[in-house]
């Protein structure tokens, strides 16, 4: 009897132990950039160190630290803690977890600590970057880069920041993306490209007249845009691999925007008696399928990442409004009901959100609509006109043009409407921004 009772007790204990939760372990730090309540974390940097047995840091070390700080400064969910705010300083004996006094970062309310170690070599340095959670010491990301020199420093900084953003949020395309936009110089407007951080600013078109409405192919190789001369509108495509521009007269009189579909074909809004939206053939000289046909003006196509949905502007119900077409069923649904002038839509890669410009009594403003929940929110508040919003490839950032400072410039915000940040585009009005992935 006693034996049976003991056996039962043992079994119960075993069951309790088996069912007990594992020893408490802090959840890995992650940031939901797509959720409604985006959190903000504090990040600090230890002093860059030479990796033993290197005697000294290479000259690139300081520049790399600056580049990473500049890059991460674009992420609204990160607060970069100044070195001076870390009690006891940021100099550590080494770059791995056991070398770092996490307590001094914890006291300064730091969530993430980044270390960099350099091993100079004859053909460039070996660079080791690590990011730890200050509270648990968990390694969030560790990356090593070989043969790092001054020439490749920006690329390495972008690569690291891309991996870091991906580790935190699941998406890192922002630091692998670039922007195209139209820039005015006198009476001419040409197409320029740059990274979203304002680096590698480059003029790609030299056609005179007005070039506008740029759109990147999904792989980032091709950049299509419209060119308006005194006599006609033409379609132009810049091949970033060969640095050549192809220009052709489209079988229509006016071009009203374009976008690449995920399969690489180009959809163009153009007038063939009426302004509709068409698929072009692969050689871009003939019209393929008609995507939207209506007696009204239909312009500004924008596709989601899978090509399931296309947002566009149509004035079929009396004034310009945003519509979304389901490419499988052919169903076209109106998205905007407020305001009498909603234009320039850009659909998020996941097809859930559409951003657009609405004309209000105070000027154009950027709005965002959840097309599943049919909920709308104002993202920008001027002053001046905020126009032509475009989603980044990760669906988190939104770039738009605004004359809030007097002249039209580009600004970066997020789907949550974070404080717009001006982008450096050089002289001349900058309009029509379009995000794409770097093809390199």
């Amino acid at each position: 009897m006693l034996r049976r009772a003991l056996a039962t007790l043992m079994l119960l204990l075993a069951a309790l132990v088996a069912g007990a939760p594992a020893p408490a372990r802090a959840a890995a730090l992650s940031i939901d950039i797509f959720g409604p309540g985006q959190s903000r974390v504090n990040m600090a940097f230890t002093e860059p160190l030479p990796l033993a047995p290197a005697p000294a840091l290479p000259p690139e070390a300081a520049r790399f630290a600056t580049l990473v700080r500049e890059n991460l400064g674009y992420l609204p969910f990160l607060h970069l803690v100044p070195d001076g705010e870390i009690l006891g300083g940021t100099r550590m004996p080494g770059v791995v977890r056991d070398d770092i006094d996490m307590r001094r970062f914890q006291i300064s309310k730091v969530d993430l600590v980044m270390t960099t170690g350099w091993q100079p070599g004859a053909d460039g340095s070996r660079l080791e970057c690590r990011v730890y959670e200050a509270s648990s010491g968990r390694l969030v990301l560790g990356k090593a880069y070989l043969r790092v020199d001054a020439q490749g420093l920006v690329r390495v900084a972008d690569l690291f920041c891309s991996h870091f953003m991906e580790a935190l949020t699941g998406r890192g395309e922002f630091f692998r993306s670039r922007l195209a936009f139209s820039r005015r110089e006198g009476q001419k407007r040409e197409i320029w490209t740059m990274t979203p951080q304002g680096r590698d600013l480059r003029q790609v078109s030299f056609l005179g007249g007005a070039s506008s409405s740029p759109a990147w192919s999904v792989d980032g190789r091709y950049l299509a845009f419209a060119h308006h001369s005194v006599w006609q509108h033409t379609l132009a495509v810049w091949d970033s691999q060969t640095n050549r521009i192809f220009e052709t007269k489209v079988p229509g009189t006016t071009i009203g925007g374009m976008d690449f579909m995920p399969d690489g074909t180009l959809a163009v809004a153009m007038t063939r008696g009426n302004m509709d939206i068409f698929k072009m053939t692969r050689d871009l000289t003939r019209v393929g399928d008609t995507l939207v046909s209506n007696w009204a003006i239909d312009v500004s196509p924008s596709f989601d990442a899978e090509g399931r949905l296309m947002a566009f502007t149509s004035d079929r119900q009396g004034n310009p409004q945003i519509f979304v077409k389901d490419m499988q069923t052919g169903r076209e649904e109106r998205v905007t009901y407020e305001g009498k002038y909603n234009t320039s839509p850009s659909i998020s890669p996941d097809g859930r959100l559409v951003v657009y410009s609405r004309r209000t009594p105070e000027g154009h403003r950027i709005f965002i609509s959840d097309i599943q929940a049919m909920r709308e929110r104002q993202l920008t508040f001027g002053p001046g006109n905020d126009e032509e919003p475009a989603f980044s490839p990760d669906g988190y950032f939104i770039v738009f043009s605004s004359n809030r400072s007097g002249a039209y410039k580009l600004y970066l915000t997020t789907r949550h409407g974070d404080e717009p940040r001006a982008l450096e585009t050089g002289g001349g009005a900058a309009t029509h921004p379009a995000f794409g992935l770097r093809g390199d």
């Binding site: 091709y222 005194v230 192809f246 690489g264 312009v299 320039s344 126009e387 032509e388």
Partner: protein, 174 residues
């Protein structure tokens, strides 16, 4: 029975081949890069008529074609009565000067956004073009182009400037 079985198998096999063929075609299309070569250079741009070289009567006709513009309401492209009168006068001149052609430029004010304004400018130019064709001007002697808000006639903001910028302009070429 055996023949039926073989025919059935052949049909199934053919369907499988067709399905795999379709899948491959789709994949190939997705991987295929854009294919284009620079087209042959097109004929040069048409020559504008040099008004200084015209005699007094022709110069007057030239001015009547190019100086008189027509105007539109905001976000509208329908012709007003006074615009129709202006176009009737232009049609008569074009009938008289048979070697002249006319470019109709559609323009908008700055308040809209560019791509929609380009479409609206095209509609404004096309409205004039179609009215001129109805009045008997051959379509081969007319050409339209839209500038949207790219080339305002008057700089500045306010209804006085905007009203002057929502317009069709006319150029004469041969």
């Amino acid at each position: 029975m055996r023949t039926r079985f073989l025919v059935g198998m052949a049909v199934i096999l053919a369907m499988m081949l067709a399905v795999s063929g379709c899948a491959k075609t789709q994949k190939d299309a997705a991987e295929q890069p854009l294919s284009f070569s620079t087209p042959e250079p097109q004929a040069g741009e048409p020559a504008m008529v040099d008004s200084a070289a015209l005699d007094a009567e022709a110069q007057k006709a030239f001015d009547a074609l190019t100086v008189n513009k027509i105007y539109f309401d905001f976000d509208k492209f329908d012709l007003k009565d006074e615009s129709k009168e202006v176009l009737k006068a232009k049609a008569e001149i074009l009938k008289k000067y048979g070697d002249w052609k006319m470019l109709v430029e559609g323009h908008c004010d700055e308040r809209g956004t560019e791509e929609y304004n380009l479409a609206l400018g095209e509609r404004r130019a096309r409205a004039a073009y179609e009215y001129l064709v109805v009045l008997g001007v051959p379509s081969s002697r007319l050409k339209i182009v839209s500038f949207g808000e790219e080339k305002p006639a008057v700089e500045g903001s306010g209804e006085a400037a905007w009203a002057k910028n929502r317009r069709d302009e006319f150029k004469v070429f041969k």
